[in-house]
Symmetry: C2
Subunit: 82 residues, 2 copies
């Protein structure tokens, strides 16, 4: 089983990395870009045979503990069976 975790900055939180990417793209001539926000995509390999609801709860715990700084970041979890 796989879990995909998307970690993004909460709305309203300044994203200096996104700002740098957006400004650099504009400088490179990509004027259609009006903004950019950068997030993480974490792909977790989980051992087989886990019950999906339990697995999702555990991944949520992993996010709260390590994968996301919940003061400024939010996260979404996607489970992929098989």
């Amino acid at each position: 089983m796989k879990a995909i975790v998307y970690v993004d900055l909460k709305n309203g939180v300044l994203d200096p990395q996104g700002k740098a990417v957006s400004e650099t793209l504009t400088r490179l001539g990509f004027n259609e870009v009006t903004g950019a926000r950068i997030g993480k995509r974490i792909e977790l390999e989980l051992e087989d045979g886990l019950e999906p609801t339990a697995a999702e709860a555990r991944v949520k715990e992993m996010c709260e503990t390590l994968l996301a700084n919940t003061v400024i970041e939010r996260y979404d979890i996607e489970l992929i069976q098989g």
Copy 2:
């Protein structure tokens, strides 16, 4: 219009960051984790009125130019209308 770009390491490329996350999760007691890979999720705001095919081609150019190191990374582009 929005474009979401997912940038991930190509298969076979060592992912020290993923290895560190996986090992830390195991040390924290999340023994069901057998591996982790870390990628980027870049959300680009594009000006309105762009023709989708042209917009996708431009975003591909942005990936090749700046957003992905195509020697070790691959990317996927998702356009979101509206």
